[in-house]
């Protein structure tokens, strides 16, 4: 046992926690009127056959209703803004390819990441070392 553990034990023993006769009587009296509760195991109620039959029927009906409602729905026309005429779609023609504006990347930021990456590597290796030290301490003590 190391010095700290020994000291903690000794100091705990210095705490006087004697049960007085008064407290003893009080504890005995308080237990007198108490009854231990028995464990209640919840009983599984068995469901009747008609319950399962009714619930499956309800499920099938709900699914059928959803399918019917989904099929009845007609597609809404796309609203056209006033004053504009939508481009006519001619069968057999393909729309012109979409031209995206080119983005000019800032090349300077890419240059700056290199020292930061180095810093992250350093921090990660420090963290690993610290973790190993803590693990060793824990294994040694417990």
């Amino acid at each position: 046992m190391d010095k700290l553990a020994l000291q903690l034990r000794e100091d705990a023993e210095k705490i006087d926690a004697g049960i007085s006769a008064e407290l003893d009587a009080r504890l005995a009296a308080s237990l007198h009127g108490v009854k231990p509760e028995s464990v209640r195991h919840p009983q599984r109620e068995s469901k009747s056959f008609s319950f399962w039959w009714a619930s499956s029927l309800t499920g099938v009906a709900a699914a059928a209703l959803i399918i019917v409602v989904a099929n009845l729905r007609t597609p809404e026309p796309v609203p056209v803004a006033a004053g504009t005429t939508p481009a006519p779609l001619v069968a057999g023609t393909t729309p012109a390819p979409l031209v995206l504006p080119s983005i000019e990347w800032n090349t300077k930021s890419a240059v700056l990441t290199s020292p930061l990456e180095q810093e992250i590597d350093n921090l990660q290796s420090d963290l690993k070392k610290a973790e190993e030290v803590v693990k060793q301490d824990i294994d040694r003590l417990f």
């Binding site: 010095k3 700290l4 553990a5 000291q7 903690l8 034990r9 100091d11 705990a12 210095k14 705490i15 006087d16 926690a17 004697g18 049960i19 407290l23 009080r26 504890l27 005995a28 308080s30 237990l31 007198h32 108490v34 009854k35 231990p36 509760e37 028995s38 464990v39 803590v134 301490d137 824990i138 003590l141 417990f142």
Partner: protein
Amino acid sequence: MSNEAALIEAAKNGSAAAFTSLVFSYRERLFRFLLTRTSSFADAEDALQDTLINAYRYLSSYDSRWRFSTWLYRIAINNAAKLKSAGTEELGDLHDEGNDPLAHCIAASDRENLWQCARRQLSDEVYTAMWLRYVEDMSVNDISAVLERSVSWTKVNLLRGRKTLDVELNKNATDHKSKAYG
């Protein structure tokens, strides 16, 4: 079947005498612990009484895979926490040296009791973990069960608690030496 297991079985069947014998050896240990966790002597007594009543009432829920003391401490910690949340400590009792049960019960010494330092410097959970480890000799697994924490959390926080108290212990030793040499 061990003596404790036989007493537990008898108490589960409603024997108050068996329960009294079962908890007899734990009462003083629990009371010592509760004195350090509550703000007054009366609170510690109340917490002990509630712990024993709850233990007796809900003994049927005790799982024999765990040590009985582990289960008992879990109840005691809950009761101490209940008293704390009831607002008794907001009255400032704990900081009032005259009302502090720990200060009352500690035999006069030339240095501060480490458990007083621990209560000042550690969180409730770490304090409890340290107590269970170094006073009750509980295993890390049992402590994590009492605190409802993971084993790794318990290990790391025991280490932290140790480091904090090690500093206090060394400080006490230095103060003692400097006093001795004037």
